[in-house]
Symmetry: D2
Subunit: 364 residues, 4 copies
Amino acid sequence: MNAAVRSAVRIGVLQGHQMLAVHDSFDGLAHGMIEPIGWSGVAGWTGKGGSMLGTKRSLPNEFMEEISLSITKFNIHALIIIGGFEAFVGGLQLVQAREKYEELCIPLVVVPATVSNNVPGSDFSIGADTALNTITMTCDRIKQSAAGTKRRVFIVETMGGYCGYLATMAGLASGADAAYVYEDPFNIHDLEMNVEHLVEKMKTTVKRGLILRNEKCNANYTTDFIFNLYSEEGKGVFDCRKNVLGHMQQGGTPSPFDRNFGTKMGLKSVLWLTDKLKECYRHGRIFANSPDTACVLGMKKRSLVFQPLSEAKEGTDFEHRIPTQQWWLKLRPILKILAKYKISLDTSERTEMEHIVTKRGQIR
Amino acid sequence: MNAAVRSAVRIGVLQGHQMLAVHDSFDGLAHGMIEPIGWSGVAGWTGKGGSMLGTKRSLPNEFMEEISLSITKFNIHALIIIGGFEAFVGGLQLVQAREKYEELCIPLVVVPATVSNNVPGSDFSIGADTALNTITMTCDRIKQSAAGTKRRVFIVETMGGYCGYLATMAGLASGADAAYVYEDPFNIHDLEMNVEHLVEKMKTTVKRGLILRNEKCNANYTTDFIFNLYSEEGKGVFDCRKNVLGHMQQGGTPSPFDRNFGTKMGLKSVLWLTDKLKECYRHGRIFANSPDTACVLGMKKRSLVFQPLSEAKEGTDFEHRIPTQQWWLKLRPILKILAKYKISLDTSERTEMEHIVTKRGQIR
Amino acid sequence: MNAAVRSAVRIGVLQGHQMLAVHDSFDGLAHGMIEPIGWSGVAGWTGKGGSMLGTKRSLPNEFMEEISLSITKFNIHALIIIGGFEAFVGGLQLVQAREKYEELCIPLVVVPATVSNNVPGSDFSIGADTALNTITMTCDRIKQSAAGTKRRVFIVETMGGYCGYLATMAGLASGADAAYVYEDPFNIHDLEMNVEHLVEKMKTTVKRGLILRNEKCNANYTTDFIFNLYSEEGKGVFDCRKNVLGHMQQGGTPSPFDRNFGTKMGLKSVLWLTDKLKECYRHGRIFANSPDTACVLGMKKRSLVFQPLSEAKEGTDFEHRIPTQQWWLKLRPILKILAKYKISLDTSERTEMEHIVTKRGQIR
Amino acid sequence: MNAAVRSAVRIGVLQGHQMLAVHDSFDGLAHGMIEPIGWSGVAGWTGKGGSMLGTKRSLPNEFMEEISLSITKFNIHALIIIGGFEAFVGGLQLVQAREKYEELCIPLVVVPATVSNNVPGSDFSIGADTALNTITMTCDRIKQSAAGTKRRVFIVETMGGYCGYLATMAGLASGADAAYVYEDPFNIHDLEMNVEHLVEKMKTTVKRGLILRNEKCNANYTTDFIFNLYSEEGKGVFDCRKNVLGHMQQGGTPSPFDRNFGTKMGLKSVLWLTDKLKECYRHGRIFANSPDTACVLGMKKRSLVFQPLSEAKEGTDFEHRIPTQQWWLKLRPILKILAKYKISLDTSERTEMEHIVTKRGQIR
């Protein structure tokens, strides 16, 4: 996300804005941890991992009064909020508070940046590609640790909250035998089928199995539960190892995709805010109160689009902190098919084929 | 591209096709280096770099007669051609030869796979993300080698033929000061401006400069030429180092993006061919002769689309082996702006902004 | 360890030996999973991770009769046993069985290869450097995940059985605050001191803590126990995360150090066996029964030395599967000192210094 | 080398010294770029690449007067000089200048830190392991780029000045076919033999060749020369690619080996200086003028030893900036043997073996 800050600051400066860095998120906004930041203040930030501005999980509702005071005190005309689901919820809270605090009637944009890729309004969030690279590389390493060992199945737990993006995509990339996620519910019967399937496969030439499990896919079918089930049912055929990947998924140098994605998001945010500021400027002041002045900036089908937060809110499952529609779910059948489960693809993808007769009468 | 082969083979098998592996490209097709390949024959291919089936640069026109004989002999009903610009040109040659050889009247699809990302009909090609990761990581390392050294400028040459995709995207990701590419012509005046700009920057607190240059960006302004120019003009202010990255850009374990992209392309190709086979099946044989039976499969705006080769041909600069339209060219101004060149963004992106008066009468 | 096999096979071939590959360890030796292997059979093995010959944890005592028969049947003159503590114990069992089976009176050498670095007779084992690279890189990533987060302590569990080599060396390399290992016993008082120390540090500008814990350092003070202790005592000052690194530590491409170390070990083993074979050859047959015909090859102070297994046995703690003397233990005070614990260095390293008076009468 | 600074500073502080950081090497020492540095000033330095204190290639002879004044002005009692061959030569110049400047009669120690591993007095220098990791990983990638391609030979140029350490060790680790270095002279006949050897190999199943060449191995047999020779002689059998690795070899995150090696060197330096200061302290001042008060700290056979610079000087080839004796040269025959050259190992390593008669009368 530092790449997004870098480009927002630099483009902002070029557009004649005075850019301010808010440290430690909404907490810092409330408590005045705000300072001017210029061109050279963000030098070298493209390649930096983590968050240079600091993070905090607190939400604006805790201190809306202080936030409105800060906005006046620091003369803030517009806000760019870069972060994960908290950034999204925080943006919504600020919008709701516009009723009470006119200071909050300024344009704002939420830029999705989290490894979990669970922010409504965008197909991707900054950081997810980097995390996916790390997870896939680690799964490669884990599988390779069993080279030379007799049959072994690895159960690997990934991050993502309730969002199964990382587990699914890493599973597809690693050739996993299954990827358990919250969005694609499974019961004991499915688990049984999977373990039997693996037992059958291991009786052939296949030597290694890989199961991915998203951290919150199911409160009862935990990584330990699945490990125990596979260990018991695989007894005599394969042994089992488990691995909770943990925080290594959040660190590391950002991938060029995430850097360039962040750069574009930062740029677009500032250009959009510049336009909104002009639109909302009347009688010597800024007043932004319509839904389209508080947006989430997302990549949708490879275009960057601004969607009002109030609209994005409709497509959100707040309990599980995920969008209600997720594009990557349609990739899950591929994972299952390539692991040789007898699952038919969605018929919208293809129609069933009849027997192909030999060409020009030949028979093979 | 091995991930594409893996998913094509497996999905093909599931669809009831007999899948055949052709080794060594068109050469192998002509000379019968063809053998059945099944489910387990592609086990573990997702994570493998390079091409498991072998490559060769020869084009079908060299041995069209032999190819048509092979097609009959091995009873081939459809072709998936995975590769770079040669695959594209090869596909076109096969289509042109349909006039003479009815054996070639079978459905075929070209799947773009090359680090250069220069295949018409697709925004991305399999392998380019992996190469970009390698180049960016190497540029990080190169820049870091100068930590502690007084002012230094690195000139780094990337691959890509005439296509400036890798140089541009790696330049953006690495915070480069310039990225010279064929598609964005430059003359001695531009070079002069760049070097002066860098001399000015280096007089401030900036200590390191990075210039990317695509291998074929200009026949005369070679990496050596640019190195000499920068060395001479930077004398006393910075010293200069050059680096031709070479073949390391083509190796390495594929990134999860490339793996999953390949998997989807392989899957889509087979499903499409299955449908085409049904469409083209009449009176006990396959006969495919319309333009829409020979397509390039591409990602366009994050959708996979099939475009007739004959149509894609229109958008191709064959001399320089690049598409005539390239989406990423619109990112180049961002690179320049973030390197602090005084360049204005396309006005379609935004309109110029007037002075923002202070909110509620405040003055800063 | 594949590099060791490669060089042993190639040097063996050059010396005129017929080289045989035994698959799946002692199990394979007992059950005849043995086949000739030549120069090209090991092509490309230097850079391969895992074990190309396969591994199994079984020990020779389970099937000594079958092993002795295999040795006769395959006409085996000498044995190279590459592996971890099992290889060492297996070698000892073979030596003990010489009393009963004259077939076992052949020269044999144990080559230490395990990430745990716990084989008696050598300062290093093949694979430990690669594992250390992976662990350190992962710790870097874990620490970096907290960039921008307020104070956080990570508890990271490493592999190694009872041997604290990996935890200690990775701790030193990562600037850890503590590294708990079996060889350096600790009690609740030490844990308390450490957590208090960290609480104090975190009150200053320090933001991140890193604690390494070897998997078997203490049966009761588990990773969970330590996590709970730190979480409770750090409440309000820092939060805590834990991470069990797991099998990723065993995979990955071998480092150049491990490759070259393996190559040298393989070479030395064959040269030594060649000499031993000549020594033990009398009246048309091989008979090796003295202690110095069954050695462990180790690196000691950067020299490769052969030590009789019977002698190395003396220096072994079999219960905990570690050598009784471990050179790297003397590095542990450095780790503690650099984490600012008030610990004095061994006085053999230095003598206490008196006040340095100013040079030439100056006073600062 | 930052790890060495970190441990030197921290141990120094613990020993009661006032530690001073000199920026930009001897240049900074002469011009007073000197400031106190404490415990937290080096926080996080273990994992940092490059040189945090800055480097400059100038030698002390250029400004000995200024240096002596700085030593008095900043009341410097002892010097730790961390760096490559320049650090070594600089140390020698300071010692020589003791005749004229009594200010220089203070204890000093040179700590070898350079990727080139060419500092007399030590088997290893800090940074060489990291560079070796990078080079080997890059050679893996380069070789893999040819997977699927017909026969290809890569010529890769490494850094190291005249010192062939990196080329030799990376060649051994990568299974190279040859590694040309200055220390092991070669002529046109050798080149011819190598290329013929490779042509023969490529006629078998071998598909890829790798040649390493140290940058200064020979002024006439340049990388281009060798590339042209191999290209011409390999015509029809293999094609050829060349790659000058460049500055990526100097960057990157330090390996755990280099970090821990640096940490130990920093620690030892300070302890040794502490002792020397006590020895040299008489009548209220420091006076160090004997050869053993100006040493290079090196690792020799895995022990850290201090050798007087005056003595290390004897073992130095100043023209080529390398030690006259280099331990790793004895590994070069292994590289050649494993590439199947008919070269016999040094007989000190082994004696020639006679035919091994079958055991117990068996014949195979």
